[in-house]
Subunit: 406 residues, 2 copies
């Protein structure tokens, strides 16, 4: 089954809103066994939307649209589908009742323009949207499907999970189940080399990916049922766990901050952060991990060298250094009474600071025994990427130190 | 001049990377007087890239591509352009010299695969990329332009600003100059009503936009030269300033955190933050404002109710309340010795906390005279959006309080 995504809306086309829906939907398709070949964005123009849908329907079995289901004159997705299929819309009595109920519950009179949100055509059935006023459309004719969902991500994601994915499951005749094994401290070439003996496993595909948080090894099995695919993957997974041992830090949806917090909680320990020039991203990342709660003892963000010197007794001239980062990590432990301290300092911007090239940051970890470790990162891809990289490597250092403590 | 953007890369198509480049480029086009009709994403497949470029070149004067300029076999943008135009690439001696220099400076041997990054064809000239190894291509034939830039945002943005935008300027025969006036505390309807007498100004277009940081009024003038367009806007801008007075907090690229920091610096004052359940976003936003430096006195992020109680002497049971937020703002002032304190607390997740519905947050500001103000926000669009809204409204409260202090 070949699919194509069309995001509809002038605000998306002009970049006033960044389209995150298409990427989200794209990530859901592989497990349904559906191949994606194209995504595109088109503005609120009836001719261009109709033409884009016509081309999509010509070359793809399944066209997925987001946006253009609102009540205004600019919302033209329904009109374009009607034009494409040559069908005439009618107001569906049941949809109209639901729509008027939505407004009544909020004590608002329904603007008459909204009535088009109760439209249906013979080829379409409605997709429920309890989070908003716009139901989706599942349109099917001549073996071609068009699925139309709202552009608001929270509404779209719910509709996909509850209505669209279950209806698509099985339609493609295959499902793909994937597992991702996340490693640290091993190069992409080594991961490839070590896993190679398993590459010949029938019905299982492999891929290695160098990511910010280490090398990911992804395996996938396509089968008629989810259960069958899982059974094919299981023995391979077990062998890989035996091969990689401690280099594996997580799998599938695991995040580094999530496994760090889980490791801290399992030991009844806490960590605290002290930062400079990082926008507070290290503390924010730790505090946002699932169930961070007690495991995160607090974060302090300093802005000037003087504040930093006061917090960690550091000479302002050497604030961008391994020694400063280690002193900060120790100060974080002491200040918050935590078992572990983490710190981030540096010059993430595009200008050099002191002797260091631009984009240099130092991360450090202070251990419960008072010892400290640090590392240096250097990137020239802009402030946000530099900080993310530094946070990731600092969390990797913390995770390794927690494991090694035993 | 009609333009079209094509993002090239399987990782983007499959949603493993969210394409932010297309939106960024889309936002740059209006001021060059260029209309954008389509954007699309295509995977690393020579046939599909060539076919997508062919269609783009058919219907658009200018095609802008990002991605696919790396050294690997999956990087196929150059190959697709060669196939499309029927031209044969050669290795350009000067480009090869630059490329080898890039590797030599890093003390790495250049992999031979990289030599294709020194390719040119008769219709193409190279676009300089000092941030990476992949030069861009400006391809022009039969009055149609294809601009190819790398997919790494920092490399692409620099190339656009230094090489592409200057070359496009004037090619479209028109420029659009826009001004955005950012207001606070006035509804969209009122902004529209107050500005209406100016809507008839010849050659000037108006639009109002409700944004997270207030209502924006955008005016634009299209003319043959930038100077001419500016002259048309200037008297209108002056009149709008007179009409809206203090409701205007900024214009164009101004951010709320930027104007807050500027206001603090102008007064020689400082602000500090104390947060709970916000991921440190309030402190991070303030610390990241241009020239924040001394104006931001520091931020403290607490994770548990006990930490919060210790930091601000708050009863843990009432941590999601206006009183708690105000106590926290006062504690932030005291702890960091700052003139102003700001605080954020709440339950940004999808579960209710205490008596409050999910997505409730309280922001507060403590004044130099010891008084405090607070506000409540409630949203159900997920944690990230809820926090951003709460940070924005708290910064608006701080900005108004700083202005009113005089």
């Amino acid at each position: 089954m070949k699919a194509e995504i069309v995001a509809i809306g002038t605000e998306i086309l002009l970049g006033e809103i960044v389209d995150t829906n298409s990427a989200w939907i794209a990530r859901q398709l592989p497990e349904l066994g559906i191949d994606l070949n194209h995504t595109s964005v088109v503005g609120d123009n009836l001719g261009r939307v109709t033409e884009t849908l016509a081309r999509a329907r010509e070359r793809s079995d399944l066209t997925i649209t987001t946006g253009g289901l609102g009540p205004t004159e600019d919302d033209l997705t329904r009109e374009a589908i009607c034009a494409l299929l040559g069908e005439t819309p009618h107001v569906d009595a049941e949809l109209e009742r639901l729509l008027r109920g939505f407004f009544a519950r909020r004590g608002i009179a329904m603007p008459e323009a909204n009535v088009k949100q109760a439209w249906l055509i013979p080829a379409a059935r409605a997709l429920d949207n309890p989070r908003g006023t716009a139901p989706g459309w599942w349109t099917e004719r001549d073996g071609r499907i068009i699925v139309s969902m709202p552009g608001v991500p929270a509404e779209m994601e719910r509709m996909w999970r509850r209505e669209v994915a279950p209806a698509l499951e099985g339609r493609s005749g295959a499902v793909l189940v994937t597992r991702t094994i996340k490693t640290a401290g091993v190069g992409e070439g080594t991961v490839d080399e070590l896993a190679k003996p398993l590459f010949a496993t029938p019905g299982v595909g492999f891929g290695t990916y160098a990511r910010a948080d280490g090398v990911h090894l992804r395996l996938g099995a396509k089968a008629a049922t989810r259960e069958e695919a899982r059974q094919r993957l299981e023995p391979v997974e077990r062998e890989l766990d035996a091969i990689f041992g401690d280099a594996v830090w997580g799998r599938d949806g695991d995040t580094l901050e999530g496994v760090v917090v889980a490791a801290l909680r399992a030991r009844g320990q806490t960590a605290a952060a002290l930062e400079w020039a990082s926008g507070g991203l290290l503390a924010g990342t730790l505090a946002d991990a699932p169930d961070a709660g007690e495991a995160f003892a607090g974060g302090l963000l300093a802005s000037t060298a003087a504040q930093l010197a006061e917090a960690a007794a550091i000479d302002a001239h050497g604030a961008v250094s391994a020694a400063a980062a280690e002193a900060m990590a120790r100060a974080a432990r002491a200040r918050f009474g935590a078992d572990w301290g983490v710190a981030l300092t540096g010059a993430p911007d595009d200008e050099p600071r002191g002797d260091e090239p631009p984009g240099t940051m130092y991360g450090a970890v202070a251990r419960p025994d008072g010892g400290a470790l640090s590392l240096r990162t250097q990137m020239s891809q802009g402030r946000a990427a530099t900080r993310r990289r530094a946070v990731t490597t600092t969390l990797m250092l913390l995770h390794r130190a927690i494991r090694e403590e035993e």
